[in-house]
């Protein structure tokens, strides 16, 4: 009922182009996250959706209705801002009630002093108070209704902002980095609450963030944006394991994915930092490629050989269950990061030589333009013969 369709949205601010031709379709009831580094245009896209910004070209449809040129009020959307944007001079109750007051009371009824005595005002006000109370109850902030935002903690303010958005039952929730002003612990907690809220309300959520953990945990689908372009739209797991674009692979995942320049040496084999790595691919020989390997795709190997990278340990980070090992590998500019299980690799020290093998089904190939070079299919990946021995 209230899916969203964005068609060929373009937006520039003076000489800088914020959005190049963005098209997107969002299913009703979906939790969609716009993920990208700051300045990638994700907030601009959200503001265009809300009607706070007007696109230079393209159209926005919410439900079956094209909303171009409609003010935010008429679009049936609610927005939660990074700063929460609560009105500091109003109590929590007044903050939450404002969207209802603006919609249900006319200008005269809202007027100070006289408004109270106009016919119908009393009843409308009581109804509003009831709904505000109900919303506050649902969010667990009923005891805070008489306070001002200045007297609340970050998490409480967040809830008030959510309440102000919820109270009028909008068709679409827009959230612009709503958790980034909270401390780490609260962020995880509120993340779960937002997820729960989405489940309960069942309406469309569009969520903007630069935090991949938020995007991964909350979303039905993630839109990865960079420099005003949509790079990939997919389920969180797919964004991580099956990126369409080199930049998506680089942006998502922590620690960062390892990138190697490589050349197709023989059929089914690429040359990475002097080591032959087998990949199921039908690319012509001599093709230049970028090979991307996630840190967890490495495993300890006993000795050097094909498919095994050898390097000096520059640094070891203990993360509890895992170790991040930074390796200096000859012929590779940046240290190679390997994520190894702490149980299986207990005594790695700085300066020692280490051999790490690569699981071939975890190798991602990109062409020189950064586009993904797909393996033929899943079966092909599995049929690769191991070319190295595991420790």
């Amino acid at each position: 009922m209230s899916g969203i369709v964005l068609r060929n949205i373009r937006k520039s601010f003076g000489p800088t182009t914020a959005l190049h031709d963005v098209s997107l379709s969002i299913v009703n009831g979906e939790f969609l996250t716009l993920l990208g580094p700051s300045g990638c245009g994700k907030s601009t896209l959200l503001r265009i959706l809300a009607g706070l910004e007007v696109q230079d070209a393209g159209s926005v449809a919410i439900g079956d209705r094209v909303v171009d040129g409609l003010r935010p009020k008429r679009r049936d959307v609610a927005m939660v801002f990074q700063s929460y944007a609560l009105y500091p001079h109003m109590t929590v109750a007044e903050n939450i009630a404002l969207p209802l007051r603006m919609r249900r009371l006319n200008a005269w009824q809202r007027a100070p002093l006289v408004g109270r005595w106009l016919p119908g005002t009393g009843m409308a006000r009581r109804a509003i108070d009831m709904e505000v109370g109900g919303t506050a109850e649902a969010l667990g902030i009923a005891h805070l209704l008489d306070r001002k935002p200045g007297q609340l903690s970050g998490g409480q303010r967040q809830r008030v902002a959510l309440g102000r958005a919820m109270v009028r039952h909008p068709a679409v929730f827009l959230m612009d980095e709503p958790l980034s002003n909270l401390d780490a612990k609260l962020r995880v907690h509120m993340r779960a609450e937002i997820k729960e809220l989405h489940r309960r309300l069942g309406v469309t959520f569009v969520y903007v963030t630069h935090d991949q953990a938020e995007a991964m945990t909350l979303s039905d689908r993630v839109v990865v944006m960079l420099d005003g372009e949509v790079l990939q739209v997919a389920q969180p797991q797919k964004i991580y394991s099956d990126p369409d674009d080199r930049r998506v692979a680089e942006f998502v995942g922590s620690p960062k994915i390892n990138m190697f320049d490589a050349i197709m040496r023989e059929r089914g084999q690429v040359d990475v930092a002097g080591t032959a790595l087998s990949v199921p691919s039908e690319l012509t020989l001599g093709t230049e490629l970028t090979v991307a390997i996630r840190p967890e795709a490495f495993q300890l190997a006993g000795h050097a050989g094909p498919g095994v990278l050898t390097g000096l340990v520059r640094m070891v980070e203990h993360m509890g269950s895992d170790l991040f090992v930074y390796l200096d590998v000859a012929g590779v500019e940046h240290p190679v990061i390997a994520r190894l299980s702490a149980e299986r690799a207990p005594e790695i020290v700085t300066g020692q030589t280490l051999h790490v093998g690569v699981r071939p089904d975890h190798v991602l190939l990109f062409d020189r333009e950064g586009r993904r070079v797909r393996l033929r299919d899943g079966a092909a990946a599995a049929s690769v013969t191991p070319v190295r021995e595991w420790a």
Partner: protein, 324 residues
């Protein structure tokens, strides 16, 4: 020691003051010595300002209070105490009463006029990007300029026959007047000049205040449905300008209360006593009629009024103004 103290306070709960002071007096600690040293420093640093405040402000105020109880005339070598006679005269004096009413009327025109005009101009300047600096400058000029010189220009403008105002009005078919010599127009005209002069000051402060309003709030208001200009003004702009508004009202009210130069130059309190205002009355009684005792009594009344007004204003607005 510390362990004991915390133990005591834990077991007793909120420690009563007497108990606490007893405990503290037992503790002759370096911390206490340190605190005393800090207090000495505080006095030493505040000292110069404190002395100046006493010499330049508090002592003269006491002097005026004493003088108000005497019949001293400026230059006279003798004086005698007359008790409250000066105040009695002040209360029953018609000139003083006219002066008081004029002052109140003047303030009641100038303060709302300045605040409103300043806010409107600030909003207009803020709403458009072009020539901002220029508009800001021309509206701020009157505040920077010497009012004495400006008053003379106003006199020329308001001249009954050759003045630009009357010539323009006549050309447009609007009735003209002898603005500064007519009992009904003189005070309002002075008030308009007062607004014109303070407007720039209010505008600059409002502009600064507008800049500090987070844009997110306007966005939120827009999404919440407050998208008419009047709703935006009522939900975001005016409440967020609260502290600035309070400051402007107090400062402009004080400036309006102590208006002197325009009266001295343009009307000398006339015609009749139509533009007689407190500070001008005070000056005239003290330095033209040389009745220092009576003038001092007027000054005391003036002082009491200004202080009371400021306190009331601060009290009322403090309750309704939101500080970030």
């Amino acid at each position: 020691m510390n362990a004991r103290l915390s133990l005591v306070s834990r077991s007793v709960g909120p420690v009563t003051t007497s108990r606490k002071s007893m405990l503290v007096s037992e503790l002759r600690s370096p911390a206490q010595k340190h605190a005393r040293g800090e207090a000495l420093w505080a006095w030493a640093l505040a000292g110069p300002a404190l002395i100046l405040l006493i010499v330049l402000f508090l002592l003269p105020v006491v002097g005026v209070f004493v003088m108000a109880l005497t019949d001293w005339e400026f230059g006279a070598s003798s004086l005698s105490f007359v008790g409250l006679a000066n105040f009695r005269e002040v209360i029953f004096d018609e000139v003083f009463r006219a002066s008081l009413i004029n002052t109140v009327v003047y303030v009641l025109i100038v303060v709302p006029g300045t605040v409103l005009a300043g806010l409107v101009i600030a909003l207009l300047i803020e709403s458009s990007d072009s020539c901002r600096a220029f508009y800001r400058a021309i509206h701020f000029l009157p505040f920077m300029a010497t009012l004495t010189a400006m008053a003379i220009s106003w006199e020329a403008l308001l001249h009954p026959t050759v003045g630009l105002v009357n010539q323009t009005f006549a050309a447009l078919g609007i009735p003209t007047a002898n603005w500064l010599r007519d009992e009904t127009t003189a005070l309002p005209v002075l008030a308009v000049i007062g607004i014109w002069q303070n407007l720039g000051y209010a505008m600059v402060l409002f502009l600064a205040g507008l800049k500090s309003i987070p844009l997110d709030l306007y966005d939120a208001a827009e999404v919440d449905g407050a998208d008419l200009w009047i709703d935006r003004l009522r939900t975001v702009t005016i409440p967020m300008l609260g502290p600035v508004l309070m400051f402007i009202v107090i400062v402009v009210a004080l400036k309006a209360f102590e208006t002197f130069d325009t009266i001295q130059i343009l009307t000398q309190g006339g015609p009749g006593h139509a533009t007689e205002m407190l500070l001008y009355t005070l000056y005239r009684e003290s330095f033209e009629y040389l009745r220092m005792g009576y003038g001092a009594a007027v000054a005391v009344v003036f002082l009491v009024m200004v202080v009371t007004l400021t306190l009331i204003q601060a009290r009322i607005m403090d309750k309704r103004v939101h500080y970030q």
